[in-house]
């Protein structure tokens, strides 16, 4: 009985963290960000300074949009960003951050190109890694310097079946990403 109660608590705890998204634009008041989520996805309801969305569960695909103060733009590298950086240099910092967080996992770069985010010029990185269980994931990462903040969007899904299936919806959504500060 006690085990059952714990299981119910855990289960309900998980369910409460995510909520259905309608057609409206989702806003983070803490971070002054907004985005129109991919249709039919759910969003994280945990109050935080990033907006997180998934369709089939965060262990499958995940779209995260957020902002960091410029001087703490790349915390794992202990480095900031500034307006003087070329978009390609910003992309290298983002890749370094990924590699540092990934430890021994190899991050394979499949593409790196100029891209806009929130109306600003930045980069779009396309990378692949294999997790400890042996599952391959593809990721897209966008980043720009916007005044005093580094804005980023990150989409990750298994290479098999999911990444390409949801990519177009994610890119459409990321194109609506806006910052208000």
């Amino acid at each position: 009985m006690r085990t059952l109660a714990v299981a119910v608590l855990l289960l309900s705890g998980c369910v409460q963290h995510w909520g259905r998204v309608g057609a409206e634009t989702v806003v983070s008041r803490e971070a002054a960000l907004e985005i129109r989520a991919p249709a039919g996805w759910v969003r994280s309801l945990v109050p935080e300074d990033v907006l997180s969305f998934t369709r089939d569960g965060p262990g499958i695909q995940l779209l995260v949009c957020g902002a960091r103060e410029l001087d703490r733009a790349f915390p794992a590298l202990e480095r900031g960003a500034d307006e003087s950086l070329l978009p390609s240099e910003l992309a290298e910092l983002a890749l370094g951050e990924l590699k540092t967080r990934a430890g021994l996992s190899v991050i394979e770069v499949l593409g790196s190109e100029p891209a806009k985010l929130a109306g600003r010029d930045g980069f779009r990185l396309y990378v692949r890694h294999t997790d400890a269980s042996g599952l391959r994931f593809d990721s897209l990462l966008w980043g720009v310097v916007d005044g005093e903040r580094y804005l980023r969007a990150w989409y990750r899904a298994p290479t098999l079946h999911y990444f390409e299936r949801d990519r177009v919806a994610v890119e459409r959504s990321v194109a609506t990403f806006r910052a208000h500060r």
């Binding site: 370094g96 430890g103 890694h129």
Partner: protein
Amino acid sequence: MRALALAVIAAGFVACHTAAEPAPFELSPALDELDPAERRVWSSARRTAQMIERIGGVLPDPELEAYATDILTALFPEFAGALRVRVLAQPVVNAITLADGSIYLFTGVVARMENEAQLAAVLAHEGVHFTHRHAYGDRAHARAPLTDSTRRRGRDQEREADRLGLERLVAAGYAPGEAVRALEHLVEIEELYGAEFQGSQATHPASVRRVEDLAALAALHAQEGRTAEAEYLRRTARARVAGIEEGLARFDHRFVLLELEDGVAANAYPRHVDYFLGEAYRLRGEEGDEALAEAAYLRAVERSPAFPRAHRALGRHYLKRGRPELAARHLRRYLALAPDALDRAFVEANLEGIEGGPP
């Protein structure tokens, strides 16, 4: 030093628990000769090894693996086949041994060692961790927080590995003083990374003290012996460059500068080595580093004109400093030398910005 990589491996390095100190192996044990508890520790180590393979952490360098394994066989002939070496592409000056005899050498340690005898000293130390079943003996302390007792135990094991490793080194015909030099490289790293490094080495005795102890032991032996510097530099060339590249990719300019600012060490690298040095100055970003970086990039282009990334670096450097003609010249050269570069679109955008049209 960023200790993230070490944490990943540590999960397999330390495992479960028993009380008595295990006796050293006399010969290579077969898995079915081990008691069930030790077999579980080995299985855990093998799962860790498989995980490292899956995530792509191992540098594909079979020649270096064979070279290091041959050195290990000379050091531990009775354990031939039981000890295996893999190389991890990380700018970490360290090596790790799993319970089953899998030894992982980080490219950082390969880069900092100056000759075969120094690498042999590292491998002899790591091999003793296996023959003396340190990982199995550690299982009592696996998931517990570090205490004085576990720290002491770890330090005792390190001293034992230093002492017995030195005996193996001498028996295999290497110069004993090189073991001391190898440990001195660790002191340099401690000084460079300070508290960051100390955190990852909490179970190790202070390296300065270890150097003193090892030097006293080494002095008891005849000092002559093999060093095999040229052979070492040739066989490790690829791994050393991989370590530098990973260091730069993770914005760790400290390791790269330590390795390359010494002109003697830099001579062991390819002709375009000054590109790496220039990148390290750029990443450090202190006063005067822009000029140091530019000079290093120029040297790289002089010495190795067909190395693409030195041209890209110069192109960016001039682009950001208002010298568009020079920037365009080097960026065009980069694209000509690396037509399939993954960042081609960035460079084309730079050229478009300079010249007002497609390159």
